[in-house]
């Protein structure tokens, strides 16, 4: 206990590194921008901060910075964040079309993209990356093969085979899936389970009434 307290005192008081330190990897910053789009799409300032930081990151490996630039410009122009997300996912090879692993499939940003007058249109007819992710086989996430999977999800650069699987506190996935809403659409099975649960509870009520203490006294 004393040792723990001493360790704490040595730690001092202040914001944690987890909260304040900016990554120097563009790929991480792009993923953070995507996560912010998924979780708080209205917080445009934070998202733009991440894309800008990604453009200036010391380690740009694994990221198509031209696409990040395009996404950054689209954000500045107030474009739909869903489209920005698609561009960002493509920039790290996590989108439906592929990223740096498929340079030939990625359009170079046009000059006007810098002003975001005409950002890369999002293929609205195509599934969102999250949907493609959900449908993807595990191998498509982990495979070293950079070719897109049947579901259209490109392989993730750096996410190789067994010898390259995540270790330590690595989150292990490049794709950012949407939260899975689990609000119940009650079907027949759910109704049966619900009725069974209520029945079990009622049996419990009967039992405690049947066997209540003779004195009926409650705890002090």
């Amino acid at each position: 206990m004393v040792a723990m307290l001493l360790a704490l005192m040595a730690g001092g008081v202040g914001p944690a590194a987890a909260h304040g330190e900016q990554s120097d990897e563009a790929a991480v910053l792009v993923r953070q921008a995507i996560a912010l789009i998924v979780s708080s799409p209205d917080d445009l300032g934070e998202i733009e901060e991440k894309t800008s930081a990604a453009l200036e990151a010391p380690d740009p490996s694994g990221v198509d910075l031209a696409l990040v630039q395009q996404a950054d410009a689209a954000l500045a122009a107030g474009e739909d964040v869903a489209q920005v997300r698609v561009i960002l996912e493509r920039s790290i090879g996590a989108g439906p079309v592929g990223g740096p692993a498929e340079e030939s499939t990625v359009e170079e940003p046009e000059p006007q993209a810098a002003t975001a007058a005409e950002p890369e249109p999002a293929p609205s007819a195509e599934p969102l990356p999250s949907e493609a992710w959900a449908a993807a086989e595990p191998e498509s996430v982990q495979s070293a093969d950079p070719a897109p999977s049947e579901s259209g999800t490109a392989a993730v650069p750096g996410d190789g085979g067994m010898d390259q699987m995540a270790t330590g506190a690595d989150p292990g996935s490049t794709l950012i899936a949407e939260p899975l809403e689990t609000a119940p659409q009650l079907d027949a099975t759910d109704w049966i389970v619900l009725a069974g649960s209520i029945l079990v509870g009622l049996i419990g009520v009967w039992l405690i009434l049947r066997y209540r203490p003779a004195t009926g006294r409650e705890a002090t």
Binding site: H19, M165, P171, G172, L194, A214
Partner: protein, 355 residues
């Protein structure tokens, strides 16, 4: 003639006459009648059944957890997708996960209520100090189980919880080595947390539960604190059947919650950002962190559990009735209100405002 020979020469009719058939046969072999020992009748009330209900919640958690482990994949790449698959692909998987989720919350609440009941009735006083300490350790383990369960679903919320854990491991230096990702750097930390969640922590809880029960049996259920008298007694089996009733009610409620309010699964995690709030039971620590930084999480936790552990050594007076222990009860009320106040503070704060 030996006793064995005597049994061998008994006819089935004799055996049936000597007992109540099947129950008697079971009793002869398992000694079930030993459970008929007398306990105070007040043990059959809800307040004195909270410990048993906590154990029942543990049973629900183990049963549902066993099912979930058949489909969960504890690797960083597949943990979150496998939880989603449990909900969307496994028959009744969402329901089982929902019951597991709510049973964990129920166990947390029941542990606290049980601790409060024991505190208010002074049931930790001599000679029951050791059992109080065992209970406090089990409370810490329950929190550990909830924490690891949060992390291993491997969504943004769980990953942010892990990030705090790693920060605290750094603060603790060598003492926090096991909680650090560097402890086994070639292994994903989620695997070790999964092992802790499904084996280490439940194993420790079950072991301590056995000690807890043995000490209750050794010292007996404490007397009515208002009178100091044991009062009327009833067989322990009556306590068990009453507890079975409470347990069925709890299971029914958990089932309804599991169907109507299934827990969601957050987005796959990204390191280095904080955009979620933890589970509500950690909100008081979240507020402390907002005010004083990461070390406050450890300060708060160590402080609370230090206080809990010290209770039987500070409040050593003979009186057990709460009205005759104004200082102890006032101190407890202050602690409880502080935790509730800190919790409400986080409830009113958006995750984005965190730090």
């Amino acid at each position: 003639m030996t006793a064995d020979n005597q049994v061998a020469t008994e006819s089935p009719v004799d055996r049936q006459r000597s007992g109540d058939g099947f129950v008697a046969a079971l009793d002869e072999r398992l000694g079930l009648s030993a459970l008929q020992y007398p306990v105070p009748e007040h043990a059959n009330t809800l307040g004195w059944s909270l410990g048993g209900l906590t154990a029942a919640s543990m049973g629900v958690l183990i049963a549902t957890g066993l099912i979930l482990t058949q489909f969960y994949n504890p690797t960083p790449e597949m943990a979150n997708p496998s939880v989603r698959a449990i909900v969307t692909d496994v028959p009744l998987g969402g329901f089982v996960r929902g019951v597991h989720f709510w049973a964990a919350q129920a166990m947390y609440v029941l542990v606290i209520l049980h601790l409060l009941r024991v505190f208010l009735t002074g049931s930790y006083k001599r000679p029951r100090e050791a059992n109080w300490l065992v209970g406090v350790v089990m409370f810490a383990l329950v929190i550990g189980a909830i924490f690891t369960g949060t992390v291993i679903k491997w969504d943004q919320e769980g990953f942010e919880a892990l990030a705090h854990n790693l920060e605290m491991a750094n603060l603790l230096g060598g003492l926090g080595a096991w909680f650090s990702a560097d402890f086994a750097e070639n292994l994903p930390i989620i695997v070790r947390l999964y092992v802790a969640h499904v084996a280490v922590i439940p194993g420790l809880i079950l072991g301590l539960l056995a000690v807890h029960f043995l000490l209750i049996k050794r010292h007996g259920i404490s007397a009515d604190p208002a009178t100091g008298a044991t009062g009327p007694t009833a067989p322990f089996t009556h306590h068990l059947r009453r507890l079975a009733g409470f347990t069925l009610i709890a299971v029914g409620i958990l089932g309804v919650l599991g169907v109507l309010f299934p827990p969601e699964i957050g987005p796959t995690p990204v390191e280095g950002i904080e955009i979620t709030r933890p589970l509500w039971m950690f909100w008081w620590l979240f507020t402390l962190e907002n005010w004083f930084g990461i070390p406050a999480i450890l300060w708060g936790t160590v402080g609370l559990f230090g206080l809990l552990a010290a209770v039987p050594f500070i409040d050593r007076g003979g009186d057990r009735f709460w009205r005759r222990r104004p200082v102890a009860v006032t101190a407890a009320v202050i602690v409880v209100l502080t935790v509730i106040g800190l919790t409400i503070t986080t409830m009113l704060t958006s995750a984005v405002e965190h730090l």
